[in-house]
């Protein structure tokens, strides 16, 4: 299955989480998303969001200001 890439750079709280939620809501179970954001609060937020919603945070990669989260829809 193709990974869907989402670029939320430049956005700040709560938009990256809102946009992630909107995109994942429309997806099918097992779909994979690669979400990139340069907001410093994104990493803890996406961790908390996945924990609460049950979606799987497969990986999280930091490079410079950017945080990339790999999320699999539950």
């Amino acid at each position: 299955m193709a990974t869907q890439k989402l670029d939320f750079k430049g956005m700040s709280c709560p938009m990256p989480i809102m946009k992630t939620a909107i995109a994942i809501k429309k997806a099918a179970s097992g779909d994979v998303f690669e979400v990139v954001c340069d907001d410093a609060g994104f990493e803890p937020d996406v961790r908390a969001w996945c924990k609460e919603t049950g979606n799987i945070l497969t990986d999280i990669v930091k490079s410079g200001k950017d945080t990339t989260a790999i999320i699999t829809k539950k």
Binding site: S12, C13, P14, M15, I17, M18, A21, I22, E52, T53
Partner: protein, 179 residues
Amino acid sequence: MENQELSQKVQELQERIDKLEAKNSRLTMVLFSGDFDKVMAAFIIANGALAMGKEVTMFVTFWGLDAIKKPAIGTSGKTFLEKMVTWMRPNGPAKLPTSKMNFGGIGPKLFHYMMGKKNVESLSSLIEMAREFGLRIVACQMSMDVMGIRQEDLIDDIEFGGVAVFLNESYGSNTTLFV
């Protein structure tokens, strides 16, 4: 007989678990303040909870009503005091004062500018987004009556109610916030 009792007990427990889980998926908020910064915080939390798949009910009362007013409100048919209140209070999210550093209305302009620079979503669009996500807004009828605010003065597609509506929601949620 024993088997029947056991399955009945299991069913009872299942119902109790369902009820508890439903509680966990709901957030109830009271928006009392009409200060721009506090209303902003309230709608960021509401949006976050909605993004987590929660059902959110916001009970809007007193100064909080300023945040859900239409941009222009008529005064015809209102008493003198009601007209005074209508003129003196801001209409809608773009006109709210800040709780600190208001400086007679210059403060909010400064904050709007700074928020724009940091790409923070405007309060108006946070409200719109939350409503698209299914935020339930209940306006307090009693405080509307006190201040001469009519149902048509507030944004469309909201509900109206009293303290029992709020409490009923609150008892059914595991989190209640007062802003």
